[in-house]
Symmetry: D2
Subunit: 341 residues, 4 copies
């Protein structure tokens, strides 16, 4: 079902219930930032040549165990359709725009005889798209702490030729494991969390406990804010891509580090709560989790159908397979993540 169809279905329904935010304290000063960066650092943990960071937390045994979670043979695609109805408005953040899909050959060419083929014809197509415009992985070359990226590589190694280190292609066979959904909105008794609502460590733990699911080393942790669902229901993205959003509080960096998750993803544009818990920089959480911890981060995941299913059967764990396109030197990738129950 397309995003547009989803919208259609939602028309005329009652207004959604939101969980309001309390204004967050801007406590992340230079010292907090530096200390946390140090605490969560995984530099050199997997050797000086490592380029996949926390994906190393996943063991072969974890993959075997995750596969054993498949009990009903039900597959959920966690991707938004990639098209002009995507969340990027004109003049999107950092020049991002919705995918431009154009045809190199068409059925109309074929049926008018323009292809010169007697028994049939063909169509071909192409796409131009920012790798961060829709459902995507942020790679380890996406954010720098000071002049460095993950594992201490110099940030200047990401130049116009792409990322010479930490390119997304390094994750080519690394996006398989146990997925866990934490439906924070539902846990909070709301349809969605209001932009500015910060998900705390207590929220993460309380939600897991309530859902009866344990977060473990090597997990792909997926948090639902419901905010994408709200935008789809409202029929407009507004400032979804680049603006205020519910999301992870800064403190969760340490929690994720302690939990040793493989990756984290949400249904918002940047995982992290905005407005920020700081006045000294933009997205302080990004600054520590990507370059210091080495976490690959999923954004703009479509979680509405998966969440509904989990609410029904009470099972919040599944096999998760979300392979990035191995675009050499890329700092991100569009993805169609699969949650298999």
């Amino acid at each position: 079902m397309s995003a547009r169809q989803r919208l259609k279905k939602l028309e005329g329904q009652a207004p959604l219930k939101m969980h309001p935010r309390t204004v967050l304290d801007a406590y992340v000063d230079e010292e907090v930032l530096r200390d946390t960066a140090k605490k969560v650092s995984n530099w050199n943990r997997w050797g000086p040549d490592d380029q996949i960071g926390t994906l190393n937390h996943v063991s072969p045994e974890d993959i075997v165990n995750a596969s054993a979670l498949v009990k009903r043979g039900k597959v959920f695609s966690l991707a938004l359709p990639f098209d002009q109805n995507g969340p990027q408005n004109a003049g999107g953040w950092g020049g991002r725009f919705n995918p431009v899909h154009t045809m190199l050959a068409t059925g109309t060419d074929a049926v008018t005889g323009q292809q010169g083929l007697k028994y049939g014809g063909y169509a071909d197509d192409m796409v131009s798209m920012p790798l961060q415009c829709g459902t995507q992985w942020d790679g380890l070359g996406h954010v720098f702490y000071g002049d460095k990226m993950y594992n201490g590589y110099d940030a200047k190694l990401v130049d116009s030729q792409g990322a010479a280190k930490n390119g997304i292609e390094k994750t080519s066979s690394g996006m398989v494991g146990r997925g866990v959904l934490l439906d924070i909105a539902r846990y909070k008794g709301a349809d969605y969390l209001e932009p500015g609502y910060g998900i705390s460590n207590a929220d993460l733990e309380g939600c897991a406990r309530t859902q009866g699911v344990e977060v473990r080393r090597g997990d792909f942790l997926i948090c639902r804010t419901g905010y994408m669902g709200q935008c789809l229901a409202a029929g407009e993205w507004g400032s979804y891509a680049g603006g205020a959003a519910p999301g992870m509080r800064f403190e969760t960096a340490e929690w994720l580090h302690a939990m040793e998750v493989a990756a984290v993803a949400t249904d918002t544009w940047g995982c992290e709560v905005i407005p920020n818990e700081t006045t000294i920089t933009f997205q302080p959480w990004h600054l520590v989790v990507i370059p210091m911890m080495g976490i690959t981060m999923g954004e703009i995941f479509y979680l509405e159908e998966l969440a509904k299913d989990c609410a029904v059967d009470g099972v919040y764990e599944f096999l998760f397979v979300a392979p990035a396109l191995p675009i050499t030197g890329a700092v991100g990738s569009p993805v169609n993540p699969q949650a298999i129950k």
Copy 2:
């Protein structure tokens, strides 16, 4: 390991052993084409509104069973890197070209202070690429039989706006199941099959028998010709993309139909043997399997490492997860297929 690195490793090795072709009979005339089209047709088999064809062969139970094949937790990426070293030469077939990856923000911008950020910086990027340029799925809007595409939809529904029917986005959660590798080159005692070598039904059956694996309804059938490996070893693509190739003989259309496979993929640019077994059209097999049978077809799959592993442990079946990017209205998609053993 990148394609270039693979090449490096192969330098200085002994020449590869090829399995020579015998010139194929051009027996596919208008009548054979029409008859086969009729025999393998799945139009209306899953109702008049169906848009995913043979992917319907996969049942939830198949997915559960396929997941149980994961025993070692080993993941193989079957994608070539997407970059300028890909198989499309200048002026590629139908205007196809290798992916153009460009940066919207870089680490060099960040470290020179151009981003105006005190504590770090970021990189963003984009890609422009034909959806058929590298490892990919051909969707059901990709080929027409006469004026029709799969399930009888009018070919003109694939216009400059994309495919109004049979778009690749319809397969969004449909690319999960049991994968089976038939290593035809190995079965033939060769490193690779020569361009022009046609894989027959007998080859498919003989190979399966020899490998001790059974092809079943709902399988994702992957055939290795070794030809991609040969190009990588030789260090040049030559006419790999668009030229002569080893591949499926026309007769396999009926076999695939009888076997009720979900999808088929190879390590060549078009699955099908070229030169064609006909003088009346180009790629006669495409003309029946995509629009009539409704099979989604994988091309340019990188199979060398998977094949080596299967040869070692003798296990030629695995969980296969290969989600297309749901680009709305697309007739194909780049993909990073995952074979999980």
Copy 3:
């Protein structure tokens, strides 16, 4: 001066004076359309192989005479900057979007030593843009009357490979001649004409008479509505690109034909008045002037500075040089038109 700078200058000024429209009669029915198409047809006028239409009206002598109009050595660029501040909003008409300019190499790469050059460095760049997104020529393959384009060529000759006939590259050396500005807004005593205001034959003639300029065979006729200037002053494009606009009334087709102008251009997105003077189709004037008359049409021309200068010196004629990029098979081209006085 950039569009943004122009906007800045205009901030805080008095509201602009507009010339209101009167609702136009929807008199263009099927018969009027057909009759006018017939009357203005230039099919076969310059032979069955002609592909440049009314540009044939320009004689070498006209070019010599036009050059003699250069008396002050003052050059006006009539192009908007091509960038993200252009008139195409998100989801622009027909999928048009503002130009995407990206870098293939940068100064930041150079100064950080990433280019490995000791004495300097370089930058390179690329652009992705709809040919109709900004200041542009509509070529003769851009609009069809029934199933035909200019000179009777079949419309299907414009397929996914581009325009096999009437491509913009045919005009490669044809965009030189006498330019004449008719400042209709000024003639009407307004800063700009309101969207929906239809420029009549009487307006064209009255304006020319008032300005003391004669429209002649082979002229590049440029009409100013002031509407672009209004958008720039307001600081937002609103529905400029694709929406209601002041512009040419349907009757002007016959007038332009009688005048034997080489081309026509305005400062709006489509030259023609919208809402249309018909209920049976969109942009009826386009349907006759491009495919029947064979006129190459300029759109989104920036005329504010030229108009100011003409108002001062009273000289409304100039040498006009506006070469399209000869993109083979294109149906339009971005252009930086030069008015030289």
Copy 4:
């Protein structure tokens, strides 16, 4: 006439006569480079805010005088067609590729009723292209000397957002003046100059004298090597784009400075002779003429027809109008230069 048509015409003709090179002395060492840079510098000559460099040499009077050169009303387009037959081979220099032209709407869509229009239809299109891939201007942000670009601006001002200074859009109305063709190949009695042939100051002066034309302040100087013509005649580009080429010797930097030309252009990919007259860097001439002198440089100009005409009438001067597309922040632009005699 398209490049392909030009090739067709040349088929079966006698081999072209080339002017052989003598191996050039690699005399440009660090000291020569530094001295020349200093000598030809125009930094601050037109004030600290100047961004157009030697285009300042053109006075309004020059433009009036240049217009008076138009005597026959004959227009020459100096652009190669922009298409897949352009000079960029696969994996072109610096990632450059030939233009990718795709359709957003087609005549085949229209005639099959897909546009839903009763009386006609339309076509739209887009292009993706490196700004340096074909006939083009190199802007003043294209090359750096040390860490600086023209007029002393920091090279880092050219980042992923484009050129904040010296962008090609600054030349928007500056590309009009007197053009002078120096047909060096013809002067040397050859059809073309061999790659590696270096054009000396003596060649430039000798050629001008022989042709009876004077190079003056503010001229757009165009030098023909015939090498493009040779490639077109041979029917293949070979290493034309990025490889060895006939062209300007390093010493011409000082000559051009003394002559006070407005711009310089040739029919090769980089104006400058390759192999270089140095071992310490690539293209030493670029390093001084663009960032130090501030000259905008035309490359890949198609000069065959203009040269033939000049040889016939003996007139080597003309009105030259070659407006760049004002792509904001671009370091170059495709162009369709017009020589009007």
